[in-house]
Assembly symmetry: C2
Amino acid sequence: MRYEEAGVHIAQKAEALKRAKAQVEATYTPEVLRGLGAFGGLFDSMALKGMRHPVLVATTDGVGTKTLLALEVGDVSGLGFDLVNHSVNDLLAQGARPLFFLDYLAASRLEEEVLAGLLASLAQACKALGIPLLGGETAEMPGVYREGAWDLAGTMVGVVEREGILGPERVREGDLLLALPSSGPHTNGYSLIRKVVAGHDLLAFVPELGESLKEALLRPHRAYWPEFLRLQENGVEIHAIAHITGGGIWENLPRALPEGLGAEIQRGTWPVPPIFPYLQRLGQIPEEEMFRVFNMGLGLILVLPEAEARRAQELVEGFLVGRVVPEPGIRLL
Amino acid sequence: MRYEEAGVHIAQKAEALKRAKAQVEATYTPEVLRGLGAFGGLFDSMALKGMRHPVLVATTDGVGTKTLLALEVGDVSGLGFDLVNHSVNDLLAQGARPLFFLDYLAASRLEEEVLAGLLASLAQACKALGIPLLGGETAEMPGVYREGAWDLAGTMVGVVEREGILGPERVREGDLLLALPSSGPHTNGYSLIRKVVAGHDLLAFVPELGESLKEALLRPHRAYWPEFLRLQENGVEIHAIAHITGGGIWENLPRALPEGLGAEIQRGTWPVPPIFPYLQRLGQIPEEEMFRVFNMGLGLILVLPEAEARRAQELVEGFLVGRVVPEPGIRLL
């Protein structure tokens, strides 16, 4: 018996990695001392010595079952952006800037085309942020994954000055909530979405959406890095940031609020992307469940003093959706 | 329709995380400023400022299909050690010490018992190395994973002084290869192993092995961190290290050698754990395939000057298995 007979195809994997090599290496910054092929990626961190008090920030995420939808329509080109952008938002929610990224790719069978496409997408997404794709792991696991299914996860490491860490400790009663719009469901709720749109033609134009389901549902998770950078460079004082992912505002906004304080969010103050009412109607999903599963158009919520919120609105596209109140809990008005 | 109907069970996941919370938090060192529940883990890196030239090292790995064997016999307690120990070996192969770890856990259905068991195992493995389990992601993906299957991957970040980075550049002709023994197949070749032992009673005592297949096959990936530390503390000069994982010596030893040099390995100079000849006979696996898939008892190979190799042998259990030669390529004699 040989390894190939057990369903592991070493050659195809090597071929796809060879194809993606140039794109991965194009993400390398001068800090990368060792990348592809090393037992671990090496990232020169001399710059951290110049910081007053460096704090590393690390986050691991996956894109969930959005991969299945992408594979169904044969277009994985956005999935790398989904993953990398999701990750950078988790970092900036703490005030941090990204340093590097590592991916984890696994499937029942490593088809060369799909693997090369995913690696290219990851490399492009890293390149767009100016950070290296420092390493990763690609695993073929017959018996773990369903036929044709893939999983895509990754880890981003960043850094922040200790005194610049954002978070609940900074938040005060009366702070405003400034929401930056999402581009759609981002990477959350896709198990429900797939159930709702099952049997529908994903490529057909849907007038209500102004585009096809494929376009509305595969649009990548938006990165708020450019907006965050602009606010920071203009000295806008941000207290805390909530990245609205799985669990919606109910699970994510509280992570940006201190014990004892809550928030009120006023419906109708921000544009809800048409994909959400469309999914709600099609799937007969209760309103409160919609807010529990989806971001509903609230991609990122900045918590900041009133005067800073007004300034921020002149710098980025954002909507004042509510405020911090003395009663704990989130209330949707 | 609700999220639960799409096969996603938010409550069970929350319950398992609650059960594992204390064990995860027990891994925290004073450097952990934010862990569980944050958008990203925060790790105070003031210590890096005291280094001459800090270089971060990061590696992502998975345990592969060893999970399926563990689930089959209902014992996932070693899988966290498999993952964490694999990762620390990849770091020390470059001379680095670990700082923190993040995990990625995914399954078709997050059964509370299994999830709590895996998190406990990960926490214990991190605790054993003295590093925090700084964060992670746990995802339920019906449609991606096979019924009852799990995947377990993770990322370790460490640091090394630039002048202390090990690697091919340091290796010289005549250097010796000192192998530290493996504890078995570690985390490689399990798709083949599962095919070979299919239908066998994994719990039955096997005289040839001196233990059951369960014991021989689920023994965790060995961490060479204590040995590495002892050698380092005693000032043993190591040139390069190869961690022998997927692809065996053929794929991994070259990663520790410079262009233009090769290595000779002399069979019979190290003890081959009995599980390997057992699997070879049972699966009628060609000898060269055995060396291509398994570590064959060579868990970690240190490349170091002859005099240092002799000193190292007095400090750790290791076997001189070969040497660096002027002809490129690996030769098994």
